[in-house]
């Protein structure tokens, strides 16, 4: 690209070229980082600050380097099972994702993390959640299975009609 295309004229232009973005970009991201830094400094006096930081960074690592690889591999395994039967693949994927999503969101109850606090707050135990999750998941797979069979029946009927 020709040299004259480079917006390097003037101080703002030099900043752009050197920094890699417009001056307002620098202002904006600096403000965000200063805000976060100010909050972190405030929190640094808390005895549990280390744990908070661990959970903040840990949440990113858990998502990007644990959850994502796990669900991507699970999907790869499903694709290997289904091979080129894409419809079957999707009728497996949907209930599997539903099951995983419910577990992800409601795992504290399902795994009974916090029996005593739960009981103190509500007067109830956490026992029912595991069974309910299993039943809900089974229902998702069942519904999906039925829908798949229906669809296959329809498809084969159409095929025999057009034959």
């Amino acid at each position: 690209m020709a040299e004259r295309d480079r917006p390097t004229e003037g101080r703002a232009g030099r900043l752009r070229a050197g920094y890699g973005a417009a001056p307002w970009h620098l202002l904006l991201v600096t403000a965000v980082i200063v805000l976060a830094g100010w909050v972190a400094l405030r929190l640094a006096q808390e005895a549990t600050f280390g744990r908070m930081l661990l959970w903040f960074v840990g949440a990113v690592i858990a998502h990007d380097l644990v959850l994502f690889p796990v669900y991507a591999s699970a999907d790869r395994a499903l694709r290997a099972v289904a091979r080129d039967r894409v419809t079957l693949l999707n009728y497996l994927r949907v209930p599997a994702l539903g099951t995983a999503l419910l577990f992800l969101v409601y795992s504290p109850g399902i795994l009974r993390w916090g029996e005593t606090t739960h009981e103190a707050a509500t007067g109830l135990t956490q026992r029912p959640y595991l069974v309910r999750w299993v039943v809900l998941s089974a229902a998702l797979f069942l519904l999906s299975g039925l829908a798949y069979l229906l669809r296959r029946r329809q498809a084969s009927r159409q095929r025999s009609e057009s034959a």
């Binding site: 917006p7 752009r16 417009a22 959970w55 960074v57 969101v105 007067g123 109830l124």
Partner: protein, 455 residues
């Protein structure tokens, strides 16, 4: 060596459109040329033909509309605690708060809606957040990680953005299910986490908004939602490198990808809204504590903190129980029959918990303003209500003037036509319209009315 893609050129980084490198160029270019082993394999392993600016923009637009609601209702929750009485947690937040105002008592369902929205939306957005992150995940493994200082700083703010939302979701979800496994104070973490997230979110929206608009315009929504899987093709290569270099065949259409995330959100909505509804629909919150009723009959609605957990003993609440009213140097003590002999008022009011669940019940008792008059403070500025509980964050709560004076603000003695059950605060509890449940003190022992003159 594969040629690296053109540098990112969103509106904020337009200056680097030439080759994408800022100063010192030798450093950034050198970094780009030193590709660690495995980077190329990872880059080729992104095969989904759906990833691209359009899908990212669709998920992004949903978050752009919904997350501000979550942020605002969260900050309103803090305001509802009454920070002017130092009873919102964390107490010391400097200038990081909404401007001070008195939390209103009308409409009486105000807090039911704001906090219900906060928690329900927070849960329902989980699949959208996951879908959005899935759509941009290849960027995490990009090489070079940055081509200029601008990109280094922006990626740092993205760490705050992603860490922030995941942190808020994780702490919120654990809190409403009563598992405090994180081992730090929820209020402090969730409140300050919210500000870190909000800052990063605002910046991200400002930087990416033009991109979002372009991406949405690039493929008409209607046409895209009519395209079946067989006709689904990858988007053209984009400057951000979201589109896979070697995309595989589509196993799901874009309509399917949007539907999958929408379906997940719907599933969570169906399993969550029940905790804010009364009647048989409550049971639909199958996996949440507040989909369950602790019993049957007039007192069979959800309890927050049992009498056993509060450590209130039966001998404290028998016939020897007395209510102490203080105000302007005067002290009045009343037993339960005396309270029942006063003018009784009945109001159907929701009890709305900070954890997002709520239930409307019919309460009967003495108006707080009548008790204030009895204590000799006809024009109260505030009232401090104390419980028989010995410990706990909510042993006492201060009510503002409007909360004492509302005609439906009660010291309730009965609910749904019968005496309060011990778990619901027998002998007497406070119920104030639109006040968070934790401040509707149970097992009341004393009310201290402060007049305007007392300052």
């Amino acid at each position: 060596m594969p040629v690296s893609r053109p540098g990112p050129s969103d509106s904020g980084t337009r200056a680097s459109e030439v080759d994408g490198y800022g100063a010192p160029r030798r450093l950034w270019r050198g970094l780009a040329q030193h590709r660690p082993p495995g980077v190329d394999a990872v880059e080729r392993s992104w095969r989904s033909p759906l990833r691209g600016p359009w899908l990212t923009a669709v998920y992004g637009s949903v978050l752009l509309v919904a997350l501000p609601l979550v942020i605002i209702t969260g900050l309103l929750d803090y305001a509802a605690y009454g920070p002017q009485f130092d009873q919102a947690f964390p107490t010391n937040v400097g200038w990081l708060r909404l401007p001070a105002f008195d939390w209103p008592t009308r409409p009486s369902w105000l807090f039911r809606v704001t906090q219900g929205l906060h928690v329900t939306l927070g849960i329902v957005l989980v699949p959208v957040v996951l879908g959005k992150l899935w759509s941009v995940l290849p960027k995490l493994f990009d090489w070079p990680p940055a081509r200029s200082l601008a990109q280094v700083l922006e990626r740092l703010t993205l760490l705050l953005l992603v860490g922030g939302i995941l942190f808020q979701i994780a702490t919120g979800l654990l809190n409403i299910q009563y598992s405090y496994v994180f081992g730090f104070d929820f209020y402090t973490a969730h409140y300050f986490g919210a500000w870190i997230f909000t800052g990063a979110f605002v910046a991200h929206v400002i930087i990416k908004f033009p991109r979002l608009v372009t991406a949405l315009r690039s493929r008409p929504l209607g046409a895209e939602l009519r395209t079946p899987r067989e006709a689904t093709r990858p988007e053209p290569p984009d400057p951000d490198g979201l589109v896979a270099a070697e995309p595989g065949p589509a196993t799901v259409s874009r309509r399917g990808a949007v539907g999958l995330v929408g379906g997940g959100a719907l599933l969570l909505a169906v399993l969550t809204v029940g905790q804010s509804l009364d009647g048989p629909l409550r049971r639909t919150a199958l996996l949440l504590p507040r989909g369950r009723q602790p019993g049957t009959g007039p007192n069979g609605f959800p309890v927050n903190r049992t009498v056993a957990a509060a450590g209130v003993r039966p001998e404290q609440t028998d016939a020897s129980w007395r209510l102490t009213l203080r105000g302007g140097g005067r002290t009045v003590t009343l037993d339960r029959p005396a309270l029942l002999a006063m003018a009784q008022h009945t109001a159907a009011l929701p009890i709305s918990c900070v954890e997002g669940w709520s239930t409307r019940q019919t309460w009967t008792g003495v108006r707080l303003r009548d008790l204030a008059a009895l204590a000799g403070v006809a024009d109260p500025a505030s009232a401090r209500v104390s419980s028989l509980e010995q410990a706990g964050l909510f042993r006492t709560a201060v009510l503002a003037a409007n909360q004492v004076l509302d005609p439906d603000s009660l010291l309730a003695l009965r609910v749904n036509g019968v005496d309060l059950a011990p778990d619901h605060g027998y002998p007497a509890r406070v119920i104030v319209p639109a006040l968070p449940g934790v401040h509707c003190t149970k097992w009341v022992a004393e009310i201290d009315f402060r007049g305007r003159a007392d300052g």
